[in-house]
Symmetry: D3
Subunit: 240 residues, 6 copies
């Protein structure tokens, strides 16, 4: 059952790491939530948070996948770029194949202009220097100069897909940082956001103590009562 | 534009090799028609010829892909087995992942009983000794004992897919021999069948000559006029 | 907590498939129990059932791994072959590297003579035609003629290892058939054997019905009451 | 039939992207022109443009590939560095193997001093921090500290090779940017350079419009007459 | 320095295993002599022994690699088949790529008719059922139905190549059994053949003892004086 | 036989490259000393030099590898972090699997605070932006957000392991620069450090000459007597 992510939790997700999120999901029995392969083109940019809007590629066939195909406004790649709702992340199933591009800088610029929150493929993008300059979170496996037609045929929009060996259902919440992309099932996105926010406070507290020279024994995880008390005091002191 | 494969051409396809077919397709500009990976479980069996009926898997998610899922008669894997038309080949997009099964011997037996022409996955099957004994053409990458739920979630039936890095559209013609599986676009299946049939006659003639000690120069390809004449004579003599 | 596998359950494990066992383990939350890669050299032989006795390889180093190393009776590979208890399976962590042999026919023959139940590596064996002729279950990734010294250095006996991307603890129960090898944690081997034995009876019943033309809907899984009744009658009739 | 690249077209190639070039080549039926794997060490540097001068490696053999081999001035790696013509790109077929170096900073510095336009391997380089500091375009798969002798044996100079799964014939034109390297057959390099130059003007125009908020429908590709007119006006305005 | 393999040693090589040969070569410091990947199509056939005659493929290019190319009698693949000397092994560097065929049954039949000792590729063959029926040793990675033109361009004959990640120089001696193919440098082929013949006698003796129940300690390797004496007696008794 | 690395040689190792070290090791017959895969997170930082302190992972098992496992202070990962001696490098055998983390920023911070010289895995780290900011040399294959429990089970401390396909024995000397990590056997670390120091002086001299326009013939390697003399003069002039 899907839920709407609250603005408060959307904001919280901007300030937690994908590492923390995968642990919150692991607690709920979900082990396969981090995309294997996709990495960020514009390292160091702001976090990516948004609902999944998907596109599916199958292998290209020479008689169908010619340059003329793009003249059709119903071509799924072009239509998808013009249909992805604001705040959503455009997620592409490229079968993990970066030998041809999933998209290039012009389409990504248009997507950004239309308000998308990011773009993700388990293949590769072309014009990556241009994409890096745009300022929209973009994740891929590696640069891929050749046009998508050489390997990929866009066939579906907004259907369940696999990306980076993880299941992505439309409206799942995608969060990306400099490590990569995690997929949160829509139905638990609010609770996971809240829990990860709490976990992050504890992790910040622990890191401060470790930097100050404290052992991790009893601290991480907090098996000593004193750790729990110290953390409570720290939260008050730091307004966390 | 799709066409119906004539019974005559269907029969011809049973007697040509996938190697010959890929050359006939290459003449038409189609270079990527042979599935990479899938190999035959029941080596030595009769050729597989039939229309594609497809199923698509995405990665599994632990909360959705539990054993209980199979109790739903609308589960695409179960529904697909009961819906694949007679004479068709059940083709499965498993994202090339053989770490869990695409199907097992009970479903394959049911599929066979319902008249399917074969089953193909770019993942793996379980109960492969049982499948080999059934006598239905079956192609996979390697044995995969774990149930599909561990890695795969069946999501679609009868949509365009990729299998073995080749595009497969519903109703394309699949032909399999001991080397593997070739995909023929529906619209050209009749002409390709007819041409491959002719090519096979010539290849048989050439092989006979080579076995008799003739050089391939001028013979294969037939750049000498004498080769063309000899072949015509051979066809008459052999009723080909 | 470890348990001894009863003779009765050991016998049951000889007559269930690895596919059935992975499902019984999946019901208990264990998803990663089937070795990825190792396949049987002597296809068609009897099932392999036995406790794990392990050996661990690390990469070779030229100054340590010379032919002279084998003269030392404490060399772990040689010592392991002479120490593996009867009824056990010799399992080798070769880091999935088949570029040099994990063992050859002479050592496997000695192991067999000493009463081992089988041998498994996620690398490769040498002298595989000779191993196939011995009649002991043997699983590997592919033939590897070069001596182990070229790539592997035997370092440990009877410690927890990984093999085919699955954890293997000493005394776990390994079961192998023509599909591959499954690892059953020692503590649950008896209950899993018993359950898989029951499941196999049901699967045999289902296969008989499917071969007779029955749909899988309501039958597999048995969502119809009638299936349950038919199965009970079948068991009585067939003494299962 | 080979042609000389005109100075004007050589300059044009410095200002077009590998993405644009692969599309110009795709229009001519060439689908496999972008090297898979090699990426730039000195990201952000100027474009690489030059004729291919090739070297071929085969696997090393311990008795032939000793450090003494380099004392021979006819050793192909050393001879190649001293023979590569100015303005050319030294392209190395390393069989895609980055486990040992294709070359190191001293040889690359010498190559640069002799006027080469760049260096490319589908293996790896050693001394990569030093190479990055030199200021010559250099492409490889990943750093590889070990000397080439450990894995590679230089055998040929200036012969057709494969690099990054693309055919490279001596005198083909190689163009590299921050995405990677494209290979242009010598016979069509002038026409491809001219066409890519034109395409780049249109792409720049499109990007400007997209950034200004225009939809891609009708614009990219230019299916509306107005787009064609707008582009003509833009060219005049911008002197393109 | 090359030597001619004596008829006596050629015969000896027919009766030793690739495993034994890799150890004899390892004693001489050669660690990388067994081809990784190629396996025998016609398992169980006689050993393959012969001098290397090589062919080199680079990646195909669409404008050069058309079906018409085969009409040229100088096409290296066709010319090579007609030039490979009797008793030699035709060895093909396919860059480890089995996505298109290295050769098919007609060419292999011609090669056999001309007296070749075998054919090896690190790619794949097409018409493999036909090749298996011919009775000539043939090694490849896996079946590959598509014509070579789709991926491969034949460029050189009788030059040093890599095959299965091993260096192959023209006139090296190739030996193949059911495990795979080993490459023996021409200059040491006679001494390696003689030594492997001796080693095989000892291994047969050891296997007999192991089958009779003797421990490997002191026996293999023969660290006990008694083993040496027993072996001498065994040789006399068995005429080895 | 192990030796202590002298402070002088430890300092020398901080100023030689991994490339130079692999050549010094190759001279001693050691060909496999550079880790394949691990690359530096904090590129541009100071060299890493230290003794190996190792940890070994095997694949995870769901019933054992739960979050509660970390509460046990004897858990090898937690215990290892608190036990690694100052000046040592924590080296992790993750079986080359970066699908889950080998460690995260809190543990790495604690390790750094305790005086470790660096951390290396052939898997991946989580919290990599945080690790990069710490200032401790850290090498991995790629970012891996999921907690180690999802794929890895820590089982051993301070035993011989493989990492990046190289053998690592406790107390071996690890040296890391921006190219990667080399492993020096403890027994030869002092002599290798001294020799690499000398080699580096010569390489610096050669690079200066090459930058000044000198050919590499006769210079590198120094086959001309004049090169030897020039180098001696250069050393005096530059106090090397």
């Amino acid at each position: 059952m899907s839920q709407t992510l609250t603005p408060e939790n959307r904001e919280k997700l901007r300030h937690v790491s994908t590492a923390t999120l995968t642990t919150a999901l692991f607690k709920r029995g979900l082990r396969n939530t981090f995309m294997q392969g996709p990495r960020r083109i514009d390292a160091g940019g702001p976090a990516m948070v948004g609902e999944a809007y998907t596109m599916r590629y199958i292998p290209a066939r020479e008689d169908l996948d010619r340059l003329e195909a793009f003249k059709d406004p119903a071509h799924p790649q072009r239509k998808g770029i013009e249909s992805c709702p604001p705040g959503h992340v455009f997620v592409i199933d490229s079968r993990g194949d970066p030998r041809a591009a999933s998209a290039g800088s012009i389409l990504v610029a248009r997507l950004m202009r239309r308000g998308a929150a990011g773009i993700v493929t388990d293949g590769g993008f072309r014009d990556t220097p241009g994409i890096a300059a745009l300022g929209i979170p973009a994740y891929h496996a590696r640069p891929a100069a050749p046009t998508n037609l050489i390997r990929h045929h866009a066939v579906d929009l907004d259907v369940p897909i696999g990306c980076g060996d993880v299941a992505v259902y439309p409206r799942d919440i995608l969060v990306g940082d400099d490590e990569g992309v995690v997929v949160i099932p829509a139905a638990i996105a609010n609770e996971v956001a809240a829990e990860a926010h709490e976990m992050t406070a504890f992790e910040d507290f622990v890191m401060e103590r470790v930097q100050a020279g404290q052992t991790i024994v009893g601290l991480y995880p907090p098996t000593q009562e004193k750790t729990v008390q110290d953390f409570e005091a720290w939260r008050k002191r730091n307004g966390r």
